[in-house]
Amino acid sequence: MRGAWLVAARELRADARHPDGFATAVTFVAALVLIESIVVGPQVARETTVAPALYWIALLFAAIVVTTRSFDRELADDAIDAVLALPGGRDALYAGKLIALAATIAAVGLVGGVLQIALLDLTLALPGHALVAVALGVIALPAVVIIDVALTLRLRGRAALVPVLAVPALLPQLVAATNALGLALSGDATGSLAWSGLLLAIALVYAVLGLTIAGTAIE
């Protein structure tokens, strides 16, 4: 696992060099939240059950986007083969990308969340609890999506297959994250923390599962 930090640093350096990836992911989240709000109507979109759900769906798709982008870079000139041929390369690749992508998605989530609060004029009763929910909810996303992207690495139709594989697997996570954030919005501290606890459990399970199978999953 000692290589994980190196891979993460490499990932974040390439991202920082070209922050356009981050910028587009944020714009993507904003556009999705905006368009979905227009569709369901502003009253509905502001409800404390609907707003967090829209937020997490947008974040899930943003996670798919940044993960795919990260692996696309890896596929150019077969860069990934060089890492896979190193001892412990597969595990380092998974863990490193997990760290880097969780950090990126968390940043996208923070900016996207502030945007959504501003756009929909939401009042956040418990900001601290909301932060905890976002921080914990953000880990499981790359843990699952990385595996799905890795499984479909050189396949045609990857762009469509990843959501198909990831959405069902992340449904419990989406439900828990929506509830944790929704209760933080409406001011139910204990309820929010209980769901956040579940989020932590889900994140741990998926991360451990991912680390276990990454060796076989990454072709």
């Binding site: 190196l6 870079r73 860069a79 412990g88 380092a92």
Partner: protein, 211 residues
């Protein structure tokens, strides 16, 4: 014996690409020859653990350096950053403490990376992102790993492709010094008859079989 394929069969898609292939790589330079489509690339990828065997066995040593058909550098990073990443990662994950020490840290490592960049004629391009390099420059950057991460076993797939004459001579020099160090190098190539002079052993394959 440093590595070997024994009775290796590889099936890709609908096709048996390697069939019952035996291949032994010992210290010195081993050359793998064969016409286009013979299975050279696949044999190297099998040795690097990148392609599963349908039958047979492959003895992969813990540490190896695989330079494939394409330059394998991460787009978005510069040549120097790519080289640094690979050295560091190898130093961290290698099980041989002496080896990780030899890879150098801090100043010594940077000096070695700088030396490799200079030797492969990339000084002016070392701090440009790799996707902006020409094909030959990118190949040179990839080959610079021969100097920064020398290894007990090196697998080279068509190392001469895209190189001009000056760079071809550099590859030959690297092969000679690896042989003199007693390391094992396996080179897959169709042409380049002058490889035979340095080669300890030459395998010929065709259609996935020894020919």
């Amino acid at each position: 014996m440093i590595t070997a394929l024994r009775g290796a069969t590889v099936i890709l898609g609908d096709r048996a690409v390697l069939r019952d292939l035996d291949l032994e790589v010992g210290p010195g330079v081993t050359v793998l020859r064969g016409p286009n489509g013979a299975g050279k690339t696949t044999a190297l990828r099998a040795l690097a653990g990148l392609v599963p065997l349908a039958r047979g066995t492959c003895e992969v040593p813990f540490d190896l350096l695989y330079l494939g058909h394409r330059p394998q550098m991460l787009h978005g990073l510069t040549v120097r950053e790519n080289l640094r990443f690979f050295t560091e990662l190898r130093g961290r994950t290698s099980r041989a403490p002496a080896y990780s020490a030899a890879l150098g840290v801090g100043g010594a490592r940077e000096a070695r990376i700088g030396g490799a960049i200079g030797r492969w004629g990339l000084s002016a391009d070392a701090d440009r992102p790799v996707e902006r390099l020409s094909a030959g420059q990118r190949r040179r950057a990839s080959l610079a790993r021969l100097d920064t991460e020398w290894c007990g076993l090196t697998l080279l797939d068509e190392p001469f492709a895209e190189l001009d004459d000056a760079a071809v001579a550099l590859v030959h020099a690297s092969l000679a010094s690896a042989r003199d160090r007693g390391d094992a190098v396996l080179v897959a190539s169709h042409g380049h008859a002058d490889l035979d002079e340095i080669a300890g052993r030459i395998y010929r394959i065709d259609d996935g079989r020894a020919a």
